[in-house]
Subunit: 711 residues, 2 copies
């Protein structure tokens, strides 16, 4: 995540935060007890907005794509997270103030220190250049390297000026003991994905054994952040909405890809980032098929080798496919098995440079496309159709709920930030006053997770795939003496026969050897003798299916981050009054759809207000009645603040004239029409569901102008 | 909760569990790693069913009642749960197997031991009588008393026969450390309610300072159960849906009560339970107004005194209202300050008996109604309109989602099981194969929670209530020397003046004394001298409002328990084939609304199947396409199993004849009609939303009979 301070045009974060706090969209948890960092409570507005975002998410993904959905445990035993790699790897580096004990995240501390130095007039130009370079290197540094930087610059605690401890790794998971004995160790899950992976077999069965299928999960996850800041962007408790799409590893096409191929996206590729270029507009179809970015289809510069390496994450594959004329140094460097953070082309370039060669990447006369070099596995910038399909669908969802399309891009992970098993990963990033922030990740995780859990649990996680044509395979089969086995095991004889029939060739050979050497062999607890299994024979078997571990494409939504970006993108200040701030949320996600405002507190207004509010409620529309004594303008402003898109005013004309009419107002334009009160509920329902637009209302009913400013 | 084994008519739990597991409604979490007790993963069917139940809950309560909704942190600092009482009191008693370390919940262990003894032929009738009595007493026993029972009967570990440790209290909350230093202790919340209470001030402000209002929250809670059993009924991680309705403590009427007064409910009152009577049918109106149960309006027997005590939970109030002729022993017993579990009439009876009196409850000639005795605070069986209103709404909700009305009752808490602060509490219980299980609690928690958090946080949680007429109150006010204060504090002078103006009378007196004695006083960090505040004067102030702490009525849903009861209530076996089991869930909560089944795998069926499925999906209806090769009857059975209420079959007539028609089938009746394919999507949408009934479909379209059994 890049956290640059590049505030969009005239956005005033303090002003927005004031509104958020005042109308309780969200606020610090447990504030009456002094609050707690990194935890937030969502008030009525925030809670309803999140719920509406998730309801739309459910429709957009789960229902429209006919996905499965699960809801799995958050308390997770250690063995599960050991297998997934979280116990060993899910850590940040941390230093402590040696006196106060205050903890700091190491990379943040260094960055903060450097930023201060960069802003300092006393820092020379030369020093600034060095610091700039070090900031760029920061993300790929080991703990020891970072520790070296802290010592080199003699960094102290930014709060107290005290010395800092050596760096340590701090695992971000919250440990927990399950049950009363304290012996069953576990953690609060750090992501929802694992719950889907451990249920893979059940889900596959539910899907009648067929690929592809997708499974979604929405729920909480927990990360014990070292020093959370940046409001909702870095918290200890958060909601994720994740999808795991399981597909054939050799066929990542998507049957609905053609429906999204024309969707325009802004892509900020790994190469563009490395080359200091900007993001590019293209269609997702071009990005996957590689038509729009031909320069990427060639391989001759170090950058291109790096890019290839990046795309494939498979060094041995590159070695096998390198042009024969490739400089020996390329092979040498590849064989050096550089650590993962060297696979990035620019780093690798430096690494290779350390060998003292300069002409090492010379492939004279041979410029081949990426597609040729990868045997068709990789054509364009985005690794495959399924990944591209989800990127387009993610964008459609974000725009539907109100994200500003000009402040949305997809950034490709650099290889040093991508998990080592991932093939390709694109983050949907939103531009906010904190810079571009990652809101949705979309990664091709390959077969990593299922492979890990197969190892961890000894339960095989794979699918059977029909072979194009049956194959003959050699197998070693036990020849049994049924009589001897029946006599020895009686009612268990059948089970023993079955166990013998299902032996693999390796097991058969092992057993044959053991019986020859020791005369007996234990199988599933049964002691077998040579007499029971006199011999083994070699057979040819016809096999129709093969087992493959599915690949996983994972769109993963940080719900709180999308929520925050949405608030920034929809925050508005009225042109004529900079104290009137509001959120311009689309009706589909607005927490309350309509307000009812009686112009007077006189008793004869009450039946109209009540009847209208009840009729709206009857249609399951969240309604807010504001019968307080403020001026109508002030009450409109209050309803605008909480993003209510439509407001109905019951005025003196309503009460005194038949047919009874009211005014209906739209939040963003502040336009009003006058219409019969009985027409209001269904009209608002259609507006709220997005079935009609405001324009259709203003076309149909006369405009009304007087009310907003009058008492 | 009563956990009697009284299975309903011919229900086969093993058969249902087989279906639940096979079609992955839910199952043990982390099963591939051996599973874990007390935790469950909800598969596609279970997850969608819960989501639909909660969506309906949101409409029924949050939208229809215009409630606020929040989503608060689960990680909760210790101070918060100390104030709420959970740190000290949220515990069960536990014994350990001294050798294996296995833990047992004490009351469960005793009950299990006794049940075994009761079933033993060797146990004499006399012994059985004693054991029966002890089982009845169990719930009110102290830890020491229970420990005594364990020793008296020489109980051993039921698993190993080993000796058991002495009993200990075991707090059921999961402890957790927040942040990297390990110093901030907390817990996973054991209920969602506290998040609402700590946000009370913000919510009140959001509601513009007015009572009553309600706030809802849906989310996870955690209890580290000692030895969870009984499937979903006792788990460590569960979803709650709670509502806190804040109202004037002296006015618990409800403005919509008249809308539900006629709702018939089955009430199992505390008195009926104590007297061994059965539950009674009445209307909620009668239950609140006390018309239907006149015998409860009188107070002359020990039972009635107990009932009164029970209703009020306020011994001093009873003492003040006792008839003057009341036997001295009654007063004596009340003044004994019996421990809470003695307040139950029958226990109290025994307690009083121990004083050696027999005529202690003699109120000659004076039989007064409960209403008279409570000064109008308590009229009927249910404490007040708001409590009654929610009971009726809870019932309406449960019936809407498919709970069997014959297997639903409200059971009033006995005073020894009710939290000591509660005024009245009724559990909505569902009859299952585990007996009557508590699914929804509905309690009047009085002002307890807000009072506790006011104490804990020093932040006042109350509302201002307009006095009927203004009152004059004495107050002590500081007379200040503005010049001296201005000179001393400059720009802070205004803040100092304001602080002085807002002093309470007590603070003023304290300050006056301190200034006289020491010559100075520190106020909000400002040092004040006598010269700045030369004197204090007494004033009479006119006061228009008073502060009161709101009462809380709390409907609290155990979502997993409602879910389980719903499954049992809707489990069905086809009369003609006992292998065909299914769930008869109402369309509104059914996970998938419609299936599409092509009768043949021929290519010309595909366009019809696809187009229909897409059209249904377009209407946001969850659809399942089953194009597998099984017979149509078998495929219907598969869709019935997962409760799909409607099924469309694309057959040869569809493909060959125009207009293209299909069959539409209803799950419970297995009736089918033949209708044009284009009419299907909207018809199913209306059926799924409950806008039309199946009968309207069979009235309109010709019945179809042939298909179910043919290939």
């Amino acid at each position: 995540m890049t956290l640059k301070l590049s505030p969009p045009d005239s956005f005033d974060r303090a002003k927005m935060n004031d509104l958020i706090k005042r109308r309780f969209f969200y606020d610090n948890s447990f504030a009456i007890y002094g609050g707690i960092t990194g935890q937030y409570d969502f008030g009525p507005m925030g809670c309803d907005l999140v719920d509406n975002m998730l309801a739309e998410w459910h429709k957009h993904f789960v229902i429209q794509e006919r996905m499965l959905k699960v809801n799995c445990s958050i308390l997770t035993p250690e063995t599960v997270l050991k297998a997934s790699g979280h116990v060993d790897k899910f850590a940040d580096y941390m230093v402590k103030d040696v006196k106060s004990g205050e903890c700091f995240r190491l990379d943040h501390l260094i960055k903060q220190h450097f930023e201060k130095k960069m802003a300092d007039k006393k820092t020379s130009q030369e020093e600034k250049e060095i610091i700039k370079r070090k900031i760029n290197l920061l993300e790929g540094m080991t703990m020891e390297e970072m520790d070296g930087v802290v010592k080199e610059y003699d960094m102290k605690s930014p709060l107290t000026g005290n010395d800092l401890s050596d760096a340590v790794e701090f695992n971000l998971m919250f440990p927990i003991c399950i049950g009363p004995t304290g012996t069953l160790k576990g953690f609060l899950r750090p992501e929802t994905a694992q719950g889907i992976f451990v249920n893979f077999k059940r889900l596959l069965e539910y899907n009648q054994g067929k690929l592809p299928f997708a499974c979604a999960q929405v729920g909480n996850a927990y990360r014990n952040e070292i020093s959370p800041r940046s409001g909702l962007l870095r918290v200890r408790e958060f909601t994720m909405a994740e999808i795991e799409h399981f597909c054939d590893p050799d066929d990542k096409s998507h049957n609905k890809f053609s429906q999204v191929a024309g969707v325009e996206v802004t892509l900020y590729s790994a190469c563009a980032q490395m080359d200091g270029e900007s993001a590019k507009r293209t269609t997702i179809g071009e990005a996957v098929r590689g038509l729009g970015l031909p320069s990427l289809g060639l391989l001759s510069t170090p950058m291109e080798v790096g890019a290839l390496d990046f795309f494939l994450s498979d060094r041995s594959y590159i070695l096998g496919h390198l042009p024969t004329q490739a400089d020996v140094t390329v092979r040498e460097a590849l064989n050096q098995s550089p650590p993962p953070h060297f696979t990035h082309a620019s780093r690798w370039y430096r690494h290779v440079e350390s060998f003292g060669h300069n002409e090492r990447l010379n492939f004279p006369g041979e410029r081949r496309s990426l597609e040729q070099l990868t045997g068709g596995r990789q054509k364009g910038l985005v690794a495959n159709e399924t990944l591209g399909y989800f990127m387009a669908r993610i964008q459609q969802y974000l725009l539907k709920i109100g994200v500003n399309p000009k402040k949305l891009r997809f950034r490709q992970h650099l290889s040093n930030e991508m998990a080592h098993y991932a093939c390709d990963c694109w983050d949907a990033e939103c531009l906010t006053s904190y810079g571009w922030i990652e809101c949705v990740g979309c990664a091709d995780r390959s077969a990593y997770d299922l492979t890990q859990h197969t190892k961890g649990s000894s339960v095989k996680m794979c699918v059977e795939r029909l072979l194009k044509e049956p194959q003959m395979v050699d197998s070693v089969v036990a020849v049994t003496d049924k009589g001897a086995i029946g006599k020895a095991f009686k009612k268990d004889a059948k089970a023993v026969q079955e166990a013998l029939a299902s032996l693999s060739s390796e097991e058969s050979e092992k057993m044959d050897k053991a019986l020859s050497e020791n005369g007996e062999y234990e199988l599933n607890g049964y002691k077998l003798s040579r007499a029971m299994v006199p011999s083994f024979k070699k057979e040819q078997k016809k096999v129709h299916v093969e087992e493959v571990v599915p690949s996983v494409i994972e769109p993963s939504f940080g719900v709180g981050r999308v929520f925050y970006a949405l608030l920034e993108h929809s925050f508005r200040v009225r042109e004529d009054d900079d104290k009137r701030t509001f959120f311009s949320l689309p009706p589909v996600v607005a927490p309350i759809k309509v307000s009812v405002l009686p112009l007077s507190s006189k008793q004869d207004f009450v039946p109209f207000t009540d009847k209208l509010a009840d009729a709206l409620t009857e249609l399951n529309l969240p309604v807010r009645v504001d019968d307080s004594t403020g001026s109508i303008g002030r009450r409109y402003a209050r309803t605008d603040e909480i993003a209510i898109p439509f407001g109905v005013t019951v005025d003196f004309d309503t009460v005194n004239n038949t047919p009874h009419t009211v005014t209906l107002r739209e939040r963003d334009s502040t336009e009003q029409v006058r219409m019969p009160i009985d027409e209001v509920p269904l009209t608002v329902k259609k507006l709220a569901d997005g079935k009609i637009l405001w324009k259709e209302v203003t076309d149909k009913w006369p405009k009304f102008v007087a009310q907003e400013t009058t008492k």
